[in-house]
Symmetry: C2
Subunit: 368 residues, 2 copies
Amino acid sequence: MTHTRFTPLIDQLPATVPFVGPETQERGRGRPFAARLGANENGFGPSPRAIQAMQDAAPEVWKYADPTSHDLRQALAAHHAIPADSIVVGEGIDGLLGYLVRLFVQSGDAVVTSDGAYPTFNYHVQGFGGQLHKVPYRDDAEDLPALLVRARQVDAKLVYFANPDNPMGTYARGADIVAQLDHIPPGCLLVLDEAYIEFAPADAVPQIAIDDPRVIRMRTFSKAYGMAGARVGYAMGAAALIAQFEKIRNHFGMNRLAQIGAVAAVQDQDWLTQTVAQVGAARDRLTQIANDNGLTAIPSATNFVTIDCGGDGDFAQRVLQGLIARDVFVRMPFVAPQNRCIRVSVGTAQDLDIFAAVLPDALEQARD
Amino acid sequence: MTHTRFTPLIDQLPATVPFVGPETQERGRGRPFAARLGANENGFGPSPRAIQAMQDAAPEVWKYADPTSHDLRQALAAHHAIPADSIVVGEGIDGLLGYLVRLFVQSGDAVVTSDGAYPTFNYHVQGFGGQLHKVPYRDDAEDLPALLVRARQVDAKLVYFANPDNPMGTYARGADIVAQLDHIPPGCLLVLDEAYIEFAPADAVPQIAIDDPRVIRMRTFSKAYGMAGARVGYAMGAAALIAQFEKIRNHFGMNRLAQIGAVAAVQDQDWLTQTVAQVGAARDRLTQIANDNGLTAIPSATNFVTIDCGGDGDFAQRVLQGLIARDVFVRMPFVAPQNRCIRVSVGTAQDLDIFAAVLPDALEQARD
């Protein structure tokens, strides 16, 4: 007998995972990317106040962070006008999704998501032995009514819905989400991932009471706040649900500088507003670049633009590889028919200049 | 039916957890501590190069961290002269212990630790439904031979052993650990927590081949490297074991600044050496303060000194409360007979001046 008796579930899990970052690609290529437009990062960066706060706090990194993230939760409570005990802070939405799945899912439990939606959620569901049921996109958007029908059919404990969606960038109107709440089946929690919500039109935000037991909402500092490397996400929901995270989370998982930077960021909403405006302008330019090349951009409510390359998945894959070969880091959806597209994050004017310069060659080569 | 069908295990877990940080205590008291000596933090701080590296990296926090922690693992591989694929980096040892337990433990699986040892390990074991078996300390030290006997008796999958120990500060000689390796039962992995090892005498470090399948070793930047708030830990072991973490860990759980700071820290071993010297001197002074008050300090191989208050657990608790009332944050062991002691982290000269000034009053009050 070996000394490592893993659980049967662990033995069944795949050894490889879909998390290949640009640094790994750069090491494989032997040279850096010229434009980093593949991870939906926000190249306009965080509030200068957040940067300053993190720099000022660096000498005190010898102190553990407050395990309750008290100051950040207070700042978020004030920002959202909700009680602080309705908020849990974690190591990015990724970390919080892991805790959430662990709270609900054991081997064989049913979970519903869209086919081609956020893979990290699926990773966690599989990691706890859940049974994933996938619903197709409709018109390049996640289909909430169909997701809820499926949830009822399979007796799902969780149903995942991202608004706006990644990787397509589409969004649902908040009123349409609210209209669906009564269709959430008993015993099922709606996981509303709003990572990109700050970029979306105002009508994307659903009005849902914070103590509504049917929904948990996920937010992040990785996108509009420009702090992906800090790893700060938060979940909002009924206090009784939020309290359950205390039973299992890594109480000392948060970085102290990240907490302090996030407080400064949430208190600088002017910066957020101008960032969102810059992202909107960059989105328009990406759409124009697509059009200039005879391609169609899917209207986006996020900080990326998903571009229909006009062919099948193999064609889009060739375009993608052509861009990467020309030092532009981009990604693409991985399920048909969405995989006819490439996904290009917004970036600075310089980044988009590079993308505009190389896209024609990448397309021409892909068509050969 | 409610909308939140937690797993049966989650429903059974306690709602409250033992993670009460000094900030929570300060808010409860309505005033800050004057000396922060309770969390075994390293008030001498991190390498100035690490601080500078984090400050320099702050404007680029919009980028996600490399999910493989490639550069840090390379730096650690060079430092320890082991292959990089024998190292996994995580959100502190706490985070890594959570992943490790998840790899091995499901409901009812047996795990062995010492009664009164690191509670976060127990938290994770309980969190995955494991059955904890506890072995008493012997002479204020974790008793590895007895732990391994118990592991064989209960068919344990994991046995936890910290060297040096927390909360007593004692250590085992590396040669004595090596002599026990052949007693690790089949099907059992020894979790060797070496969070404090850099403070210990050289003979505390066991010589164990990196590909020995019987042992996994845990290290951290929280203690000697002075970066508790960064949340950087790492585990070292056989590559086949280390690879299993890839199946379940939060691949984007690491803070980018923390990664960069840790690389700078591990490459500044001169700073580490002078920190360890400062800690040793502060340890001596804490011992002297104890002696000056008629108390006995347990010889320490860590950055804290555990002081025998000469009475029972109630008496030590009164001393502890007296210190806290006098604005000195300290903690204490929570299992008899170790709970006759208080645990005082080393600090700067100013911190220890404060402790020395208030200890006589705290003792006198406790004796009333």
